[in-house]
């Protein structure tokens, strides 16, 4: 019925992380003014959808809300609306109701990872991850590529899909040595069962349209083509724009239009971007026009780009070197089996996550069952410092083999009956779309 429609949604004008916080009510106000004034809704191929709320269950399918979901729900409404809106447009796209869609929502989500103790990098719920797992659970989608063009490393999305061979995650960002969250280097390349399915492309500050498009055309697009995904999602952060107050890249609104044109995403999901007057109205307009197949070259931000842009001749050798380094990197994993682990080789990877919004640290011990048949069961011990109690995430992946599924249930059984230093846990059985939350005091709850 709506063969050629493109859609967008627009919620959360009454939510902010704080009065003068970059993630505030004003952030999409001028974008709304620009789009409505342009008469974008009068383009026959564009429709605006009303947002919907994601359920806690839909969030749990991608992320563990620690210590328990119940301790989050009061503050999650705006985040769940952003995630729900992603699901709404994702479903419409997969069903063929729309050609593509722009999930024009705030708050963003790509810094929110597999385990969530609170808000970090303005994100609490990972909109793309919730969407991706919903589509896989309900709409038969198998292979998905996520290209994160936010200026910050999409560390949360990377964390959620790091062990998943069916999700190709590519993040282009300003080099982590110069910007939050300080990760996203080429050696972060995926877990033992998904090696090479995470690609990080850290770009030097000052990179502009030309350099960015070069990377897309010569690295990102061929990689996506080789993967042949069912769906391409663009985490469309807008903070590469030369006016962004938090970053140091040099992209223009026109450059963003071209990114969209090159990627041809089935869905674009807004991430960051905090030049709310100088960039967002124009970048959002250019992206929407490019998605709608309209000419975006007439979109021009009022401010002129008058700082030096890294020229392609300088950038090219750097990019080629990076690419070579990334492609030749060999895996180097540590096997560490705990006494109660089911049989198999479990790869151990410890790391910590800093929650900048509230200022605390999460310590993580991740274990992945090496498997040549499926994505492998994941066992994550997580602890919010300085508290001693642990919460645990056990994930049985989509298309899990029977051994990995059994391993997941053995771990779950051990957690509930024998683990004494654990306060709570989540079992994500993606294979059968079953979600169980366990809490020492209140017992088991199915979601």
């Amino acid at each position: 019925m709506y063969e050629t429609d493109r859609n967008f949604v627009f919620p959360a004008f009454d939510w902010s992380l704080g009065d003068s916080h970059p993630e505030r009510e004003e952030r999409l106000l001028y974008t709304q003014e620009q789009l409505f004034e342009e008469g974008i809704l009068d383009l026959p191929q564009i429709k605006q959808f009303s947002p919907r709320l994601a359920s806690i269950r839909e969030a749990l399918r991608a992320q563990a809300l620690f210590p328990t979901p119940g301790m989050h729900t009061d503050s999650l409404d705006a985040h769940l609306i952003a995630a729900g809106s992603a699901i709404l447009l994702g479903e419409a796209q997969v069903r063929g109701d729309i050609a593509n869609g722009f999930v024009l929502v705030r708050p963003p989500g790509h810094h929110s990872g597999a385990t969530v103790w609170g808000n970090r990098g303005f994100c609490s719920i990972n909109n793309e991850a919730v969407l991706v797992n919903h589509l896989r659970a309900h709409l038969g989608i198998k292979k998905i590529a996520i290209v994160d063009t936010d200026v910050h490393h999409g560390d949360g999305t990377q964390d959620i899909f790091y062990h998943d061979p069916n999700v190709l995650f590519i993040s282009l960002h300003q080099d982590g040595r110069t910007l939050y969250p300080g990760s996203g280097f080429v050696n972060e390349k995926g877990g033992p069962n998904a090696w090479g399915q995470t690609i990080n492309i850290p770009l030097p500050p000052g990179t502009g349209d030309e350099g960015y498009h070069y990377v897309l055309e010569n690295w990102v697009l061929p990689r996506i083509q080789a993967f042949a995904p069912d769906l391409i999602i663009n985490s469309a952060g807008q903070d590469n724009h030369f006016t962004d107050p938090l970053a140091a890249m040099n992209l223009t609104a026109d450059g963003y239009g071209r990114i969209t044109e090159l990627l041809q995403p089935d869905l674009a999901v807004l991430e960051g971007g905090y030049s709310i007057e100088g960039a967002l109205p124009y970048v959002n307009l250019a992206i929407l026009l490019a998605l709608a197949g309209e000419d975006y070259h007439h979109v021009r931000e009022p401010q002129k780009l008058d700082r030096p842009v890294l020229d392609l001749a300088t950038l090219k050798p750097y990019i080629e070197g990076l690419k070579k380094q990334q492609q030749t990197l060999k895996p180097n994993f540590t096997i560490q089996n705990k006494a109660f682990f089911p049989k198999g080789n479990w790869i151990y990877s410890p790391h910590s996550v800093y929650y900048d919004t509230e200022g605390f640290q999460e310590n993580r011990h991740d274990y992945i069952r090496q498997c040549s048949h499926c994505a492998g069961t994941v066992y994550i011990e997580s602890q919010r410092a300085p508290f001693p109690q642990k919460s645990i995430l056990i994930r049985i992946p989509f298309q899990a083999c029977s051994e990995c599924e059994q391993a997941g249930y053995d771990l779950w059984d051990h957690l509930i009956h024998q683990s004494e230093d654990t306060a709570s846990g989540l079992l994500q059985n993606q294979l059968h779309d079953k979600l169980s939350v366990w809490q020492r005091k209140e017992g088991l709850k199915e979601f």
Binding site: A12, D14, D19, S20, E37, E38, G39, D42, P51
Partner: protein
């Protein structure tokens, strides 16, 4: 209550009604002499037989005059000059008229990005055509935030020739450059025609020595004084009037589905807790997308006289009319024949109805059993089409974009509706319609003069939407296009509430009516931040007097 006259000046007929304290006293139907409105209105008054015309308190008029002039392309040319700026290409949207783009650009806060280029103005070719004065519409992107460029060019042109008729886009203060341009164009284009109509009305009323004020019905179902209405706002007052007519026969807080079944078309409207549903966009008229606020009404091409045609599968209900129903002397079978055959209506010839229906069936099936089944199936088909339009209207309401967390958490909930059916085929389909829509059904009266009735009982409507930018120290009012300087504080709270009240009072005084049950929307406050410091606020707020009727009408 009071003594109201409602007149609906249609393309073919002019209907009138006289209502005294909620009781319909007389109705009249006279042919419209489009070249002589004075005579038409005088004839209508003659037929109304009002004993004491001095006792009339108010005359409300609805008219299709402007609508028809636009649809029949009878409007004089208007020169459209655009400050289109950067952004989406202007030609991405379909423009039914010519335009000229000029340099000069504003942004969303009303800041000047690029000043106009006066050299371009000197090259403008604005030559007189015949005796008509030149009409010029000037519209800038974001002129609803800052009208400076429009005013500069208008002043320049006025100096060249003070007789030129110039209209500025910012007077339509809502967002949407494209619609603002076309609305400004149309309003200017129909203004002469409308002024002439207004003069004729006044002449006719004066000729009968009636002192009562004249009001005109708008697309949003409200009335405004003859001299104060913007002509383009009078389009589509017909469907609005039929929704209002239904309100006069309804409990004031009911939610209802309004179905008006005509010969060829059926109009469908929705009333939610007593307030008619508005279209989410401005009205579309012919090829013109406008900012005219109008009620959400669906017109579908199915009616009592729609042709029923035999097909291999049985029959099909066509979307055209050939003439009256078979049972009323027509040549084609219609839903009216089905109604007559089933005894749901009592007009028309019963034998003819049967013969008409029989012609659809193969000869061996022309038995009462099959005829009965066929008649039922025809009505079900008709009801299905009406129900589909009702569903689409309800969807439009339920899918209205929400922008706030609160709105998403509190979606439109399904309400208990009742259905009000009027028109020729009303009695015939009421049962089937009630069953299909699963609502109680009530029959509407006076459907032959419902537009005049709705107009007679309409009350003024009123919207005042404030956009205030305390950092830029400017405020704007969407509905009037008023732009002014804000002298209040950077972070106003109660102050802005009082300010809105004063704007409402000013506007009410301008339109010469008393404000009653003004409904205010909660204010939206957007802190404006520069470098982590709050430097001001954008405040949005609105007050409305929703469309409605002044009371119920008794049969």
């Amino acid at each position: 209550m009071s003594n109201q006259v409602g007149i609906d000046v249609g393309g073919t007929y002019t209907d009138a009604v006289y209502i005294q304290d909620g009781y319909i006293q007389h109705t009249a139907k006279v042919p419209t002499h489009s070249e002589n409105i004075v005579e038409t209105v005088l004839e209508a008054f003659e037929k109304l037989k009002i004993i004491d015309e001095n006792s009339i308190d108010q005359i409300n008029v609805s008219t299709t005059l402007v609508t028809n002039a636009i649809l029949q392309e009878r409007i004089p040319p208007v020169k459209l000059l655009l400050f289109s700026g950067k952004g989406m290409s202007v030609d991405a949207l379909p423009w039914p008229v010519h335009y000229l783009e000029l340099s000069g650009e504003m942004d969303f806060r009303g800041r000047e990005i690029e000043p106009p280029d006066q050299r371009e103005w000197q090259e403008l070719q604005l030559s007189e055509q015949g005796e008509n004065p030149i009409h010029v519409a000037i519209v800038g992107k974001f002129s609803h935030r800052n009208c400076l460029h429009e005013q500069q060019l208008a002043a320049y042109l006025k100096k060249l020739n003070p007789t030129w008729r110039i209209a500025l886009g910012h007077e339509w203060g809502q967002a949407n450059f494209y619609r603002r341009s076309l609305t400004t164009y149309l309003n200017l284009g129909v203004s002469d025609l409308y002024q002439q109509f207004a003069r004729q009305l006044q002449t006719a009323v004066a000729a009968r020595n009636i002192k009562a004020p004249i009001f005109i019905l708008k697309a949003d179902g409200g009335i405004l004084p003859l001299a104060k209405i913007r002509p383009i706002d009078s389009i589509y007052s017909g469907p609005a009037a039929s929704v209002l007519a239904a309100l006069t026969q309804n409990e004031p807080t009911d939610s209802s589905i309004i179905v008006d079944i005509g010969g060829t078309t059926t109009d469908i409207g929705l009333v939610l807790s007593g307030v008619p549903l508005f279209g989410s966009k401005g009205a579309q008229i012919g090829p013109f997308a406008t900012l005219v606020r109008s009620l959400a009404v669906r017109s579908i091409p199915v009616g009592g006289d729609s042709v029923v045609r035999a097909t291999d599968q049985g029959f099909s209900l066509e979307s055209y009319r050939v003439g009256p129903a078979y049972c009323l002397g027509g040549t084609e079978p219609t839903p009216t024949d089905a109604m007559r055959y089933l005894g749901l209506i009592d007009y028309g010839n019963e034998q003819l109805a049967e013969a008409g229906l029989a012609s659809i069936l193969p000869p061996n099936r022309r038995t009462p059993e099959f005829l009965h089944k066929l008649a039922g199936a025809i009505l079900d088909t008709m009801v299905d089409r009406i129900a589909a339009a009702v569903d689409s209207l309800k969807r439009e309401w339920q899918e209205e974009p929400a922008y706030k967390v609160w709105e998403v958490l509190h979606p439109h909930e399904d309400q208990a509706f009742r259905t009000l059916v009027s028109g020729g085929g009303a009695r015939g389909v009421s049962k089937a319609l009630g069953k299909r829509l699963r609502t109680p059904v009530q029959l509407g009266y006076y459907s032959e003069i419902s537009n005049a009735l709705g107009a007679a009982m309409a009350r003024p409507t009123f919207d005042c939407t404030l956009h205030l930018d305390t950092y830029m120290k400017r405020y704007r009012v969407e509905e009037t296009g008023e732009q002014g300087k804000w002298t209040g504080s950077l972070r106003p709270y109660q102050e802005v509430d009082k300010f809105l009240d004063s704007l409402v009072q000013q506007q009410a005084a301008h339109y010469e009516f008393q404000t009653e049950d003004i409904e205010k929307e909660p204010f939206d406050f957007f802190p404006i931040v520069q470098g982590y410091k709050t430097v001001g606020q954008i405040v949005r707020g609105a007050a409305h007097q929703r469309p409605g009727v002044i009371g119920r009408v008794h049969v």
